[in-house]
Every structure is written in C-alpha cells, then in structure tokens.
C-alpha cells in the first residue's frame, strides 16, 4: 500500500493542478481524493506540492531490441513476417529501458522496425526492470506494418517487390486478402469442432498470427508521407482493421482528412533533421497544428531515433514551436494510452487503473525537467536522490 500526499495533481482526466492525495494498493489506484488518511501499515511519500502525473507512455520504440551483438529490429528476406514477435527478442533490462524509467517513462510499446510491409508484433512493457516478472504488460500488443521508403529500400533496391508505393499497398492488400480467407476457414473449423463435427485444418504460423487483425489486434502502420497515411487508412477501412498511423510526418498537410477519419495518430519522432525524401515535411510545428485542428494524437520518440531520455526534450521543442503544454503532456499520457488501446489500464490517475505515476522534482516541460520518484504498480521503482548518492 502506498499513499502519495500533497500532489500538485495533473491526473490527465479532469484534475489539473489541484492539491490531491493518491492511494495505491494491489498495483492499482484505489483512491484519488483530497486529504486521504494513511491506512495502517501504508507507506507514505510526501510529494510536498510537486507536480504528479501518470507515468509517461512511449507508444512506439525499439528499446530492448538491439543488443551488443547487433540490432535485431528488422528481418531482411521477406516483406511479410507476421509471425515474428518482439517478445521473443527483448532484453528486458537493456540500458535504454533503465534510462526510460529514470526519465519517468513507465510503459513502452516496443517492437520490429519498418523494413518490412509486415514486420511482426509489438510488446507492451512496464519499465520496472528490477522486477522482470512484473514487466510484461501485453506480450503481443499490435501488428507492425510499414509503407514508404524503408520497405522500398529494403526490397526495391534488390530488385524485389515492393519497389514502389503502389507495390507496398498491393503487397499488403494481397496478404490481407489471403489471410482473411484463412481466417474464415479457421472460424469454420472452430465452429465444426464446437458442434462435435470432424474437421481438419492446415496451419500456417504467419497467417495464424496475422489473422488476429481481423479480431481487433491493432495494426501499427508506419507512414510518413500523406500518400502513405491515406493509403493505410484506405486499406484499414477496406478490411475493417483497428489501426494506428505511426509517425504521421505529413499530418499537417492533411488535417481535414485526419480529423474526418478520427483514427489513432502517433506523431514523431519530430526533433531532428530529414535524412530521406519522405521526411521533407517533418516540422516541429506539426503537433501544434494538429492540436489546433482538434485532432487527437500521441507523441513518440521512436527510440532510439530520439534517445528515450530526450522524450521530454522533444516535448519542450514541440511546445517551443506551438503545441500547448497540456497537449504535450496528453501526447505521452492519456492520448498515448488511447493510441495503443491500453486506456483501460494506463494513461490517467484514476481509481482502478494501474498505479503508475511520477512525482516530478522539476516540471517535465522545463529545461531542467526531472523525475524525482517513479512508481509502477504501486511500488517505488526509481528515486532520483537515491541514484545520485
């Protein structure tokens, strides 16, 4: 049991900079109220008026995928690899995951890169690396897909398909058509078995993995250019997929379309320059423009593209170029949780949700922004003053 008193609380669900206490038990928030009396035997931390927010959420990264022996983020031989799973490759206590915890990031969604049309599944992890038994939140959270220059470079340059954007879209649609058929056969097979009828089924691991997108598994679709974003949305609608657009770099060029679709948009990594043509409209004012247009979105570092310890640096740069401070915090808390389909568990400080919070020694949107205490599942996992001893 843990009670944090005297919070300057931003619970990202309606409470903004008000003095509150937060009680946690059994890994969940059990009470968010003013002047909570500590139950017997309860650990008490005095936030002493410091800002308290939900733990930050990184919706799209590759942390734990690379190791000293090389990067494991992308297979190179086949653009269709839905059976690959990040969970099978993760180094759960990788140094960047520890750095994430120290920066106030409590949940990371990590997985394959974007060299393939379908790269495999993402995992959702808590960053409490000292307790690996508590780390895995969702083994297979989402199916990673990608359009644009990365798959084109990985295959087209070797004379294989896809070499063009048309090829990327057609490749994905063809795979989805075939998998839909497989899924229907599978459902028919299940029905027969349920009725006690005889039935056989020819398993195919990749399609067996991918068919879950027809049962609600989120498709995280990497798109920078407007053409790719719109193609992804078009195909997702055709197959009735639950989707999020990753990066959404040209989002500011298609504000009306994005608003009308109301999809899940994950925007970033923004801080930095443009290494390839499809990043030509990468701009620090994109999130600010999307906010003004009333579009809901999450903000990502795509770590290691932007090192995870710079999750706050990026937010400050976005605020510098027009995003509101509240919008910046939403993008890595409540709206991030929504974008990855985990808003029943994380993203706000409300009763019933996972007890993940940060007591900030210095406000996260100031240059010296610094996490003082990081709590995951109702237990203190990081204390700045202890680390610095």
């Amino acid at each position: 049991m843990l009670l944090v008193k005297n919070c300057d609380l931003m619970n990202m669900a309606g409470i903004e900079n008000e003095q509150y206490d937060v009680l946690m038990d059994g890994g969940k928030f059990v009470k968010v109220a003013k002047n909570i009396e500590a139950p017997e035997g309860c650990q008490v931390i005095d936030a002493a008026g410091r800002l308290v927010t939900p733990g930050l959420i990184e919706t799209h990264c590759h942390l734990g995928m690379a190791s000293e022996s090389g990067s494991n983020t992308n297979e190179r031989g086949n653009p269709n690899l839905p059976a690959l799973r990040a969970i099978d490759a993760l180094e759960f206590d990788a140094l960047p995951i520890r750095q994430a915890l120290q920066t106030g990031v409590t949940t990371i969604c990590t997985g394959p890169g974007s060299a393939n049309i379908i790269g495999g599944t993402f995992a959702a992890l808590k960053t409490c690396w000292q307790n690996p038994e508590e780390q895995v939140m969702v083994e297979e959270l989402a199916m990673k897909m990608a359009f644009g220059e990365n798959p084109k470079l990985n295959y087209g340059r070797k004379g294989k398909t896809p070499a063009t954007r048309m090829g990327c879209a057609a490749t994905l649609r063809e795979i989805l058509f075939k998998t839909k058929s497989y899924h229907e056969k599978w459902l028919a097979h299940q029905e027969k078995l349920a009725k006690g009828e005889a039935s056989t089924f020819s398993y195919d691991a990749p399609m067996h993995s991918l068919m879950r997108v027809f049962e609600g598994m989120i498709c995280k679709i990497h798109c920078h250019e407007a053409a790719d974003i719109l193609a992804a949305i078009r195909i997702a609608k055709e197959f009735n997929l639950n989707y999020s657009i990753e990066h959404t770099t040209e989002g500011a060029l298609i504000l009306d379309e994005l608003k009308a679709e109301g999809g899940k948009y994950i925007v970033g990594p923004t801080m930095g320059g443009a290494s390839k043509a499809e990043l030509r409209f990468k701009r620090y004012d994109t999130q600010g423009k999307m906010e003004k247009a009333g579009i809901r979105f999450a903000i990502t570092t795509d770590s290691g593209v932007i090192p995870i310890e710079h999750i706050l640096t990026q937010l400050c740069v976005l605020v510098k170029y027009g995003l509101s401070k509240k919008g910046a915090l939403k993008g890595v808390t409540c709206d991030a949780a929504w974008a990855v389909g985990l808003d029943d568990r994380i993203g706000t400080i409300e009763e019933g949700k996972d007890a993940d919070l940060v007591i900030w020694d210095v406000h996260p949107l100031e240059t010296d922004g610094k996490a003082g205490v990081v709590v995951i599942g109702g237990k203190v996992r990081y204390e700045a003053e202890k680390e610095e001893a």
């Binding site: 930095g272 320059g273 290494s275 043509a277 620090y284 090192p307 400050c316 510098k320």
Partner: protein, 387 residues
C-alpha cells in the same frame, strides 16, 4: 548600423553587461555602453535581450550532406574507390539551398566548418562557411581550413579487409598503414617542394603537404586506440597543428592526451551511453575533462545532430555539469581558436566579423531561440520555417 541595448556576452571580458555595438562593412567597429547613432545610421534595438556571438560548428557537413536526399543530396563521402582523397574540397560541393543552413541558423550557428564525412580515411578538406548571407563570396570565411582524417570504424570496410589491393582496409592496422603511406608521400613531396626541386604534380600529396606548414588536421576518432594512433601519427610526421575530433575515448587516457599537445573538438554527447561503444559519450564528460584541465571546443555535428538543436544540445552539456558560460564558449571563442579563425570570429570584439545573435529568451534554455541574427553585419532570417 548600431545594435543597441544588448545584454552582452561577448565571450571575452564582457559577461552580461549592457552594451551597444557599431557594425560597419560587416565588422564590429565599436563596443561601448552607449553609442550615439550618426545621422542616417540604422539602429536595431536588442531591447535588453541576451546577445552572443553566433555559434561555430566545427564538425559540420551542412550543404554537402543535404537534408532529405538519401543519395542525390549526400555529397559527403566519395566511397567506392580510393580511400585516400585529401585533395577533395568541401568548398566545391556546398549547396546553399540545403535547408540544413536554415536549421543551423535556427539553432544559433553562424559559421560551419563543413566538409567530407567519415567514410574515407582521408575525405578531403573542410571549408569555413557562414550559414547565411546574400553572396557566396561573402560567406566563404576560409576556402580550406582543415584536412579531415578518419581512423574510426566508419572508414573501415563494412564487410572486412580487402587484403589484395589494400584499397579499403578492414582493420585498424590497415587504416593506419594507408594513412601513414599518404603522409610519407606527402612529406617527401613537401621536402622537394621546399627545396625548390622539380617533381610531377601529385594533387593528393600537394594537398596533404599543407599539414606540414600548419594547416589543421582534424582526426575524426572515437575509441582510445584510434586516438592514440592519431597522436602517434602526428608525432611521427611532426604535424604542427592537429585536433582530435569527437574523441570520446579521451576520458580513458587523460594524462596521455594532456601531454600530446593535440587540440580537442569534443563530440556532441547527444545520445548518451547506450552500449559499450558509446560508453564514454556521457553528458558529464565535458565537465569532467574541463576539471582535468583539458581545453576543448564542443563539436556540434550537423546533420547527425541537427543544427536547429544546437542550443538544446548545450543545455545537456550544462546539465552534465559544465558551467553555463563555458558551454557557450565551447561553441564560440574556443571553437574559433581551435580552427585558427579567432581573428575573424568567436567573440564580439571590435575588428571581428559581425556574426551576432540576439536571443529570444536564454540560449541556455530549451525555449531560447535566435530572434535577430546578423552574419557579416547583414540581417538574415533565423526562423526555422518560412511559410
């Protein structure tokens, strides 16, 4: 022109005092507490804002490794043939339409030492080039200010040694051997040249030979053993003016480095420690080396570290412990001195180029950004976006 009401940090003696500056013909001609404008003289009011010299990026590829273009716009590395190409000149490749220049200005950078990348052992020479201005000639500060030599992993062949031809080495031994071979040939070329003898034109040796007459050699190296190899080579060939560029491994050989006489263009720590290879790329490193009595400039490194984030990068070095003013000096006066350009840039003193930044806010804060920027006394836009 008068730039008045500056809270001036000139990177020399003035630390936050109120000053006016007079600028004439691209130079600062007077720095004084109050300057009366002459009849018809233009006046810009800094209105008490912090004013500093523009930053100097000593390890840039701006205009050569252009934004956005993976292939067409990347002119930084002449790969595919010989790895000893000291006669290539960054000067010949600078594209002023590169949006990277605008990004650099938005971060406070007014001079870029721009040239080849690190894929070749000897990629060519770097040009000291202003990041803005209406004429090409006005922007060239020095056509060839340094030779770049890379002994680190980047210059080794990705698929291993190519023993037969030794064109592109796979090992450290091979890399150093090729570099020494080039220096030996250049040293002989130089001897004959100085003796007034006749010899066949050898463009590579002619370029490299300038190192013996004092042209700065920048050794782009990260690991300790590569730094040691660079110092050993500099001693063997009696290079009078050389710098270790990036040099994270210096932390593992502090005393040795101090006695070497090498200059240090310390690598940008952005990225931090991620694995064994980056074990020394700590935000605290700059402060630790300063405490050890090592002088350095801080290498900003556009486009690897985008110029628009130059002042943000400085904030991180400050978080690592380096004093505020030392952070700013590491990308102004110390950088100018390391490059031998201190008579033109690096401080805001009479006689120097009018490369001046009037800051909106504090440069040592994430939210600080250039509000007014002068390069060679000409006002240039430091807006990151112009639509």
């Amino acid at each position: 022109m008068i730039l008045k009401n500056c809270t001036l940090f000139d990177m020399a003696a003035i630390e936050g005092e109120q000053r006016d500056l007079r600028i004439e013909n691209g130079k600062i001609t007077l720095v004084a507490p109050s300057i009366e404008p002459a009849a018809g003289e233009e006046v810009i009011d800094a209105a008490g804002r912090i004013v500093t010299p523009g930053f100097i990026d000593t390890t840039s590829c701006v205009g050569i490794q252009n934004q956005m273009y993976r292939f067409d716009g990347n002119d930084a590395n002449e790969v595919g043939g010989n790895t000893i190409m000291p006669h290539l000149r960054g000067l010949d490749a600078i594209n002023t339409q590169d949006t990277g220049f605008r990004q650099c200005r938005a971060g406070g950078i007014t001079t870029a030492i721009t040239g080849p990348g690190t894929a070749l052992i000897m990629g060519g020479t770097c040009c000291a080039f202003k990041t803005g201005g209406s004429t090409w000639n006005g922007r060239v500060l020095q056509e060839e200010v340094a030779l770049r030599v890379c002994l680190s992993n980047d210059a080794r062949h990705p698929s291993g040694p190519v023993y037969t031809t030794m064109q592109v080495p796979g090992t450290r031994m091979g890399t150093v051997a090729l570099a020494r071979d080039a220096f030996m040939k250049a040293k002989e070329y130089h001897r004959v040249q100085k003796a007034g003898g006749k010899q066949a034109m050898d463009m590579k040796s002619a370029s490299l030979a300038r190192a013996f007459d004092g042209m700065l050699v920048k050794f782009a190296v990260t690991e300790k053993q590569d730094i040691q190899a660079a110092i050993r080579m500099a001693k063997e060939f009696e290079l009078p003016n050389y710098a270790i560029e990036i040099g994270y491994g210096v932390s593992e050989m502090v005393e040795e480095f101090k006695v070497s006489g090498a200059k240090l263009l310390l690598g940008n720590p952005y990225g931090g420690v991620k694995d064994r290879k980056t074990r020394n790329r700590r935000y605290e490193q700059a402060n630790e080396l300063a405490a050890e009595g090592i002088d350095f400039a801080l290498a900003l490194g556009h486009p690897g570290n985008n110029g628009s984030l130059a002042n943000v990068n400085l904030c991180w070095v400050h978080k690592g412990g380096l004093a505020t003013l030392e952070c700013l000096k590491s990308v102004t006066v110390y950088a100018a001195e390391a490059m031998g350009l201190q008579d033109r840039i690096g401080t805001l003193e009479a006689g120097k180029d009018a490369d001046i930044v009037v800051w909106d806010g504090n440069p040592m804060d994430y939210y600080g950004k250039p509000e007014i920027m002068l390069i060679n006394g000409e006002q240039v836009s430091a807006e990151l976006y112009v639509d």
